[in-house]
């Protein structure tokens, strides 16, 4: 398709704001410039800024000019590229042409941003849950910087990440998009994302505006995407909001997206109390508040708390929604163009548009030149590839190992590679790639062939991702496993983008609720057959979710979890198999022990684990025998070497108890160089409202050679050791326990008790 075919000029120029207009004065602040521009805008122009066109191109660059022309009259704030499967190089000139077409107020370009840019040609990073399993926010920052630069090269100035939701509902299909179950860890990764993405350029422009989302989410009823959540202000503030509060305070995200959730029977897109009293007043959020795609329409069509599309738009606006992420048509906010006699509405629209324009001025879309068409120097730059390789390696979690790993490459003869996941890159819903024929990167199968040679890898699919009928491949797989004497199985749950050829095979991602946390289809049967035969087995799990590992599965000699992989995950897994990389990832979600045994998060309340007035000490969770402290909880992950973490010593590092210094040491007591994540948790003995059995407060990843010892000190301001009581931060005097170690399991922690006086 040529630019001419689109009907636009094929001359690429910078977006042109009116020369000489007050809003063009770059010495003014973005807010001042936005105010100046707002004065010149018509009602319709204002309404137009409150939305945009999210899906510009369909697959193969298809573009409906008539539809676009119609839509853009009242939806001209932002544009997005549309199909993930188009090539960046092909999209850029076309989208530049459209940007240039908007002469007065330039579009701002907005995309999702999880695995990378949402077009083929960029780096493909692992999913968010995967990267969080590195427990390495600094390295994550390098990954996000790479995504930022690749986004900028495409002209993207606004992204719809990070996702700060709490992954405590293992059935929920979007856990792979999150940073795991812990509010503190989420805040660390989320703040890193926003700071990195919103870094300022030499001209003082924000490079790319970030969107914290979804306010609030993570524990939907039944694990269903748009389902209701029970409110309760202490629950919201202590369990769900901390990553938002931290990120708002420390990184000032320019944008926030509300969730699809209905909280305490009020949909978030119409929840004035949550958006005004809590988010604005208590949490101090100052950026723009947007509704997720379709969420305003849902008020009318789904939740039925609005009686028309216009009523839905008004309810959302009045609750505090300032922008509508463009869904499929029709959008709701364009209805506001007809509500002309309401000064209250007018004021709300003005406030919303100011927010939107401020981001445009802050990110320089009025001044910055359009991106050049030469993408080669940025997309997949060597630094980006390196960051991707590094985080892919650090994100793999070793769950179980009897010494089978690492394999010795020279003495490893033939291996049997089994399972459908060995032939895909299972990267999640937001990866711009064809999972089974990726443009970049290797599947595990390809990586293993690269390492051992094709003749030493006998690959057998064995079973399909989901099919529950066709089991004839199991026998073939078993024969190969017995023949090789070593079986490597890659099994799991597929999550791919909507245009992927395997989309119909997916069992994870948005829209899914895992009523069954086992392996889909006949995968368990394949695994059982190999284990029944006594073949030494390395099981590699794939998927952005927790799996229940039953007693049969636990017979595997080695179990690794690779979550949602990126383009280098196959290579990294092979490096792990052969000991070129010593695994150092730690779980950021706890793995339940039975299908109905959740929630299973490590930071439960004490009352959540007791049966109450029991006559004879019967514990809860007794059928089948279960525990709130499962063997593979948050923070857990093994290494090829062993580490010993000391008891913590706690001292007051400055006067008046204002800060604690928690010191310890970690020693590598094994035979391999490796990285350990030392984790500091705390609990308090008594509190005004119930507080968790323990909470993560600091962590650090350290590399040690065999025999090496590292000393470290965590500084913890006493003021951080608190909790919210009805929105107020509370820190108590009294007895505190600090737990230092290598996971959230009590068995992996050493403790120190401290009396604090605040």
């Amino acid at each position: 398709m040529s630019l001419f075919a689109l009907g636009f000029s094929d001359t690429i120029t910078a977006s042109t704001a009116k020369v000489g207009a007050a809003y063009s004065n770059v010495t003014k602040s973005p807010r001042q410039r936005a105010e100046a521009l707002l004065e010149q805008m018509t009602w319709a122009e204002k309404v137009g800024q409150m939305g945009g066109i999210r899906r510009l191109f369909s697959a193969d660059l298809a573009f409906n000019k008539t539809s676009y022309a119609e839509i853009r009259t009242l939806q001209n704030g932002m544009i997005g590229y549309g199909s993930y499967m188009n090539k960046a190089q092909d999209v850029l000139p076309l989208v530049n042409a459209i940007r240039a077409d908007r002469l007065n107020i330039p579009y701002i370009t907005m995309t999702d941003s999880v695995n990378g840019i949402l077009l083929v040609g960029g780096s493909v990073f692992p999913g968010s849950l995967t990267m969080s399993s590195s427990w390495n926010p600094a390295l994550y920052g390098e990954a996000i910087a790479a995504i930022r630069e690749e986004s900028l090269a495409m002209g993207t100035r606004w992204v719809l990440s990070p996702e700060l939701d709490i992954g405590k509902e293992p059935r929920y299909g979007r856990v792979g998009e999150m940073y795991g179950e812990d509010a503190y860890l989420n805040g660390e990764f989320g703040t890193q994302y926003v700071k990195t993405m919103q870094e300022r350029d030499a001209n003082g422009f924000v490079k790319v505006a970030a969107t914290i989302k979804h306010f609030v989410y993570g524990l939907p009823s039944g694990g269903v995407n748009t389902a209701s959540m029970f409110g309760g202000i202490n629950h919201i503030f202590n369990d769900l909001a901390p990553p938002f509060i931290k990120t708002i305070k420390e990184a000032k995200p320019l944008s926030l997206m509300v969730s699809y959730a209905t909280v305490d029977r009020v949909p978030m897109a119409a929840n004035k109390w949550m958006l005004q009293s809590l988010l604005r007043d208590s949490m101090g959020f100052e950026g723009i508040i947007m509704a997720d795609a379709g969420a305003i329409e849902n008020l009318y069509t789904q939740a039925q708390v609005a009686s028309s599309t216009t009523d839905a738009a008004l309810k959302a606006l009045r609750a505090g929604i300032e922008m509508e992420l463009s869904p499929a048509q029709p959008a709701m906010f364009p209805n506001l163009v007809d509500v002309v006699n309401d000064t209250g509405v007018a004021a709300l629209i003005d406030a919303a548009v100011l927010q939107f324009l401020e981001i445009k001025f802050a990110s320089g879309v009025f001044e910055q030149p359009l991106p050049t068409l030469d993408l080669n120097s940025t997309l997949r730059a060597p630094l980006h590839l390196q960051a991707n390789k590094d985080i892919s390696r650090e994100a793999i979690v070793l769950l179980q190992n009897d010494g089978t790993l690492p394999l010795v490459k020279k003495s490893t003869g033939k291996v049997a590679l089994l399972g459908p996941f060995a032939e895909v890159i299972n990267a999640g819903s937001y990866a711009a790639q064809n999972s089974s024929q990726p443009a970049f990167g290797n599947t595990l199968h390809a990586s293993l062939v690269n390492a051992l040679g094709a003749s030493n890898v006998q690959y057998v699919l064995g079973v399909d991702f989901t099919d529950t009928e066709e089991d004839s491949g199991i026998e073939t797989a078993l024969t190969a496993a017995k023949d090789a004497g070593l079986a490597i199985l890659m099994l799991g749950s597929l999550s791919v983008n909507p245009e992927d050829p395997l989309f119909s095979k997916r069992t994870d991602g948005e829209d899914f609720s895992h009523a069954d946390l086992g392996l889909p289809g006949l995968q368990q049967e394949l695994l059982d057959a190999v284990l029944d035969a006594g073949v030494p087995t390395v099981l590699i799990l794939s998927g952005g979710q927790a799996f229940v590992l039953n007693n049969s599965t636990l017979r595997a000699n080695t179990i690794l979890h690779s979550f949602l992989g990126g383009e280098f995950t196959g290579d990294a897994l092979v490096e792990v198999l052969f000991g070129d990389v010593n695994p150092s990832g730690k779980l950021t979600i706890s793995l339940p022990q039975a299908n109905g045994a959740f929630p299973i998060n490590y930071d439960y309340l004490r009352t959540d684990n007791e049966a109450g007035a029991s006559f004879d000490g019967y514990a809860a969770w007794t059928f089948p025998e279960l525990s709130r402290d499962p063997p593979m909880p948050f923070g857990f992950g093994l290494s090829y070497t062993t580490f010993n973490v000391s008891k913590p010593t706690v001292s007051f590092s400055s006067g008046a108890n204002s800060s604690l210094a928690v010191s310890g040491s970690v020693s590598n007591t094994g035979n391999y160089t490796g990285k350990e994540v030392v984790q500091l948790y705390f609990s308090q003995q008594y509190s005004l409202i119930e507080t968790p059995v323990k909470r993560l407060i600091r962590f650090s990843k350290l590399e040690l050679r065999p025999g090496e010892v590292a000393n470290f000190t965590f500084s913890v301001p006493v003021g951080e050791l608190g909790y919210y009581v009805h929105t107020e931060w509370q820190v108590d005097s009294g007895n505190y326990t600090f737990y230092l170690g290598s996971s959230s399991r009590d068995a992996d922690l050493e403790t120190a008790n401290v009396v604090l006086s605040v």
Copy 2:
């Protein structure tokens, strides 16, 4: 044991209040008399009224006089009998002696009251979930009247029922104690219970004070008994509180017990906001507020929101707790005897004691004579047995039937009876009986032998309740099944009292959370073996819980659910098997289709069932294929005959839209006389906050002969068609839909649309 051995007088006299004291004036109201008495009491005497001795006797009437004498100095408000396994006839003279020993302020006797009196010798009714499955509150009232009279015969003046909790968490082990998942149905049964129990005698005394409980409960995290619940005032008022609100308004229960739950991080026993602002101010509860056994101590030892036992007592008192149900020692409220300088505490204690004394005066414990020792005329009176037989018959739910039932007794030869539940009465935690050697009533095995003769019933245990190893009985059972040509299996989940010989085999009841909703032990293997062999099979489920019926189980020709049975459930099942009773029970809990597929209650919010912004209409719950509308939902139950329920017609029965008359007819279109529960649900199109897809608003159980047609009209005040928005009742104008039919399934309902103007 003689009375003399207890060290008390063996002369039984009435309790004696001081003659001539102002509080003795029976012309005064209970409140006035309580005020008069309070003036004469010491601080310690007051504190003593705030608790008591719950477990007077251990098994075999064992009694620790030293311990009792020590405890009663500061715990002398109430007494309970203790062990359920003692005989009523043996207990009564002993407890009478103790009552007589309290000369000034008589004890009030308080017991749990679910299946009957908590002593051997009374009628043993089915569990609450079972009785609710009758959908016959009038018949339930007859059962409760029987329990009331048997309680009075023992001198019990205060009971710890009804349980109004919402059974929407199928994992929770106490669902069998509840009336099911629906707030309206719960309110109907709970109000019936309170009105019946608190009926006044000829002297105007309340016969037995009732306790509504547990405020609030039913959706604990993970299904764990004391676990946290998420607050949210709209959730509390719309989902949890309606049965409390209705019962308080219509039946004025004298007592309320708060739950073990932590709601929004504040334990209910210390939750001032819930107890004062919501329960007292918004809901208008005026009775005494008590803490469940151990719940005040839990504030200190478990939730850790109190820093000592005295702090726990004070926090509970200040939150609004007025009485401590006596747990195992130590009790917490006796600590208040040391808090002497606090006038605020003194005032709270006075208020609490007034509440307690008012119940004693209202129920006549000062004046009424001690019960006579002749229990024969009351316990197990013919009317009580008849009510028990009637409700046992109406509570059995027929879930599936291909025509195998009813059996024809004359042509039924030998039957194979299989499974461990055929040899017990599985009645729940509050049944005063030995489940395998019941003093009264028949197991299914015994009932079937009575019906067919021993030579025609080949009973094989097959498998144990819980054992997962011993499977040798399966083969024997299979042989018997093949030989007989008809297999009747009774399988399920055991719930018995703590002193039952089978207590260690139980898998349901307080303390249990069902991470697995299948059949415990090897019961499924036994069932599968019989079904695999193609033997015609009648499966009878037993247990106070939902079971997941997998595809294998659904091969059974007939499936019945008997829940927690009473002494006549075995007989009733045999009557159902042979068509002497046509089943008419309806589920009051929905049956999920997979272990992780919940909540599954019929009255979900619309947003709970949608996947959100799905690209191509993918629904939620897609792995495995599931639905929020399961085939066996709330309200579902089959009959041997067929019924046809008409479309509803709706008219305004009086001016100004104040009331609706919803009329319809039901016809018996089959060949057996039977009872149908016609059910009326409604939904509204738009609302201020989200409202459920449908809600039960009326139901009626009608008996019809073949070919008979019954017309009926439900009167529904428009004011009932509302919901709570932040504690305020809201009724909207707009479009409403009424659904009339035989279950909550859309397929079983006919609709009428109405426009209301309020």
